[in-house]
């Protein structure tokens, strides 16, 4: 990654005009801070040093041969971005409600929120400087979008550095389902550095599903920042299926009372994959609830890292916060680090966490086999059972049938890989 290329990229990213100053300032901040290094507490399990040496470049600014996959595979509205640029637009919603950041017109929420919600970490700064496009969702007060919006970020350009950006603003009492699907279409290295900013008005409800299905040599980093209004409801599902390295920083800020947060996460780290999920939930007002459920699976030489930090500020009384995190180790060389953290500065709270890392239950394996189920299928059933606790949200938004084939395919690849290595 060379500095000249980054500065050139900022100069060519001209849209919108009013952001040019912001972009340059963000790049300056990134250049000053550099990529996160292992000395930072938050990065001691995950290294991005390979990116510093990699010859990555911004993708071409026009779409070459757009690979438009079958958008009918997505049961809802679709905005598909190929190598950073919109290539398929499959929605009848008005441009004001669902569109792209590139064609934002004078949409007020973009002015108000873009770049203001995500914590100004180095990676978010780099995205703010270099993003080309991404999905924009705006749901006016009291409106409920019946079908999910799929923002698909496909990467097929080898050695590309992509900075997809998503902004979702739900006004008071609005409701929507947003699915972000990151999809690798090349076996060569590339880097997707995504940022998603979410703003929920009072009483709004967002179901937010994030699926990382990146290419085998890819690096995926992302920052998700959520700002919640009074009595709003944020329900998220993180599913990390593939990619050489995945790192997700998800931060939820509850400045107003009565917010409800549910974050479910399933990470699959097979082969040499490294999957790192850092959550931070800030309870800064009364009567907030948060429920975090994590299931990490590591096989081969894979490593899964989970850091779940819940901070209950002074005065955030009647906070109800629970964390349940479990790891499943499928090989001797695999590693799982599960770190739930609770920081409580209020008196009247109900908080707890449980964490464990184990192996496949041999008694359960024998039980299934004793009924005629073959060893590989029995393992698959147990693994799916292990992950099942995080997938309930799919039923509530009727997306199980959409996601399960991808999840099962990833599990089948894991199996083939581990058996292939003998």
């Amino acid at each position: 990654m060379n500095a000249t290329a980054l500065f050139d990229a900022v100069d060519t990213a001209t849209v919108p005009d009013w952001l040019t100053g912001t972009r340059k300032a963000a790049l300056d901040r990134f250049m000053a801070a550099g990529l996160p290094d292992a000395h930072a507490e938050d990065w001691k399990h995950t290294s991005l040093q390979h990116l510093a040496q990699a010859e990555l470049h911004p993708p071409p600014s026009t779409i070459g041969e757009a690979v438009c996959p079958d958008v009918t595979a997505y049961p809802g509205h679709v905005l598909l971005f190929q190598n950073g640029l919109l290539s398929c637009h499959g929605t009848y919603l008005s441009n004001q409600i669902a569109g792209t950041l590139h064609h934002l017109g004078d949409t007020r929420p973009v002015h108000d929120y873009l770049g203001h919600v995500a914590d100004a970490n180095a990676l978010a700064n780099l995205n703010l400087a270099l993003w080309q496009d991404g999905a924009r969702l705006y749901v006016p007060a009291g409106e409920r979008l019946a079908m999910p919006i799929f923002a698909v970020y496909a990467a097929s350009a080898p050695d590309a550095m992509l900075h997809p950006r998503t902004l979702a603003v739900l006004e008071r009492e609005a409701e929507a389902v947003l699915v972000e699907h990151y999809l690798g279409q090349t076996h060569r290295p590339y880097w997707q550095n995504a940022v998603s900013e979410i703003v929920l008005g009072d009483g709004a409800r967002l179901t937010h599903i994030m699926v990382m299905e990146e290419g085998p040599q890819s690096t995926h980093t992302r920052t998700t920042a959520v700002r919640m209004g009074r009595d709003s409801d944020y329900r998220a599902l993180h599913v990390g299926l593939s990619g050489l390295l995945g790192r997700h920083d998800l931060a939820v800020m509850m400045d107003d009372p009565g917010g409800q947060v549910r974050i479910d996460a399933a990470d699959l780290a097979a082969g040499r994959r490294h999957a790192d999920l850092h959550l931070r939930v800030d309870h800064r007002a009364e009567r907030g609830t948060s429920r975090i459920t994590y299931r990490g699976l590591a096989d081969g030489r894979g490593q899964a890292v989970f850091d779940g930090r819940v901070v209950v500020a002074h005065g955030a009384n009647q906070t109800d916060a629970r964390q349940d995190s479990k790891g499943l180790l499928l090989s001797r060389q695999a590693e799982i680090d599960v770190m739930p953290r609770l920081e409580i500065h209020a008196d009247d709270v109900n908080c707890g966490h449980g964490a464990s890392v184990g192996q496949l239950d041999h008694a359960a394996l024998f039980y299934l086999r004793s009924r005629g189920i073959g060893e590989a299928e029995a393992q698959r059933l147990l693994i799916e059972g292990f992950m099942a606790g995080t997938l309930g949200l799919l039923d509530e938004v009727h997306l199980r049938a959409w996601l399960m084939p991808n999840l099962q395919a990833a599990l089948a690849r894991r199996e083939a890989k581990e058996h292939g290595h003998g």
């Binding site: 359960a364 086999r369 059933l381 799916e384 059972g385 292990f386």
Partner: protein, 256 residues
């Protein structure tokens, strides 16, 4: 159906079974009784193929499948062997219905039959639930998770009803059951008796045998079958306990 000869089994080098001989014919119901620690459950587990047991001597031949030791557990099940577990395992996240269908279809595939689809399977399994007086809610709960002791045992017999084995080994299926549940389970087992299905009841108490009447009763003590007889033997055990078994055969010594 099943022929066990001179079976010796050890765990961590410690002998548990010390020369068991047993023949079970088609359609027969045999009870294996014995005090705790006599090796009853070891025999059941070895038949089903659980790891961790060293078979040091002897043979088990099941139907025309030759030596059972050569088959992994799933192939024994596909050959028609079924073990109702003393302690059914809880499997979180795997729905009972998903498990049952996976098991049935694995066995059907092994027989060269097509998979049963979800709809047909549901119809099929509902009849089996009724036999055990279980409601359909059981199908959608995680396998055995949070089930009461009695529910687990019913679920075992329900699996037997679904898989229709040719040899079923019921390991302490009566333990932990109250009398009403015992009757339901026994009714289920009796309904599954047939001329081409053999059953081995492993039990500590003769109570179960009031409801499932065996053709033969064997007493296992210290790793050997020390006495075999008909149903009367079970009643005698009920009367005298297991203590007298260490003594030689009654016929072999003068009556006091």
């Amino acid at each position: 159906m099943l022929r066990i000869r001179n079976l010796h089994v050890a765990i961590d080098g410690k002998p548990i079974l010390k020369g068991v001989d047993l023949d079970v014919g088609s359609g027969e119901v045999h009870a294996i009784m014995g005090p705790n620690g006599s090796g009853k459950s070891t025999l059941a587990q070895v038949l089903a193929g659980r790891g961790g047991y060293e078979v040091t001597e002897g043979s088990i031949v099941f139907r025309d499948h030759g030596n059972l030791f050569l088959l992994p557990p799933e192939e024994r099940a596909r050959a028609g062997l079924f073990l109702a577990f003393q302690y059914p395992v809880e499997v979180p996240g795997v729905a009972n219905v998903q498990f049952l269908r996976a098991a049935l279809n694995a066995q059907r595939r092994a027989r060269g039959e097509p998979d049963m689809d979800a709809f047909d399977f549901l119809e099929f399994v509902k009849a089996k639930l009724a036999l055990l007086e279980m409601d359909t809610g059981f199908l959608y709960r995680s396998l055995n998770e949070g089930f009461s002791g009695g529910e687990k045992k019913r679920n075992e017999i329900m699996q037997m009803a679904v898989l229709e084995p040719t040899l079923a080994i019921l390991d302490e299926t009566d333990s932990g059951l109250d009398i009403d549940a015992l009757k339901v389970v026994a009714h289920g087992v009796n309904a599954l008796r047939s001329p081409d299905r053999s059953i081995i009841l492993v039990t500590h108490y003769q109570r179960l045998l009031d409801y499932i009447v065996p053709d033969r009763v064997h007493v296992l003590a210290d790793g050997r079958i020390v006495r075999s007889g008909d149903r009367e033997l079970a009643l005698e055990l009920e009367d005298k306990g297991y203590g007298w078994l260490g003594e030689p055969e009654p016929e072999g010594r003068p009556q006091p």
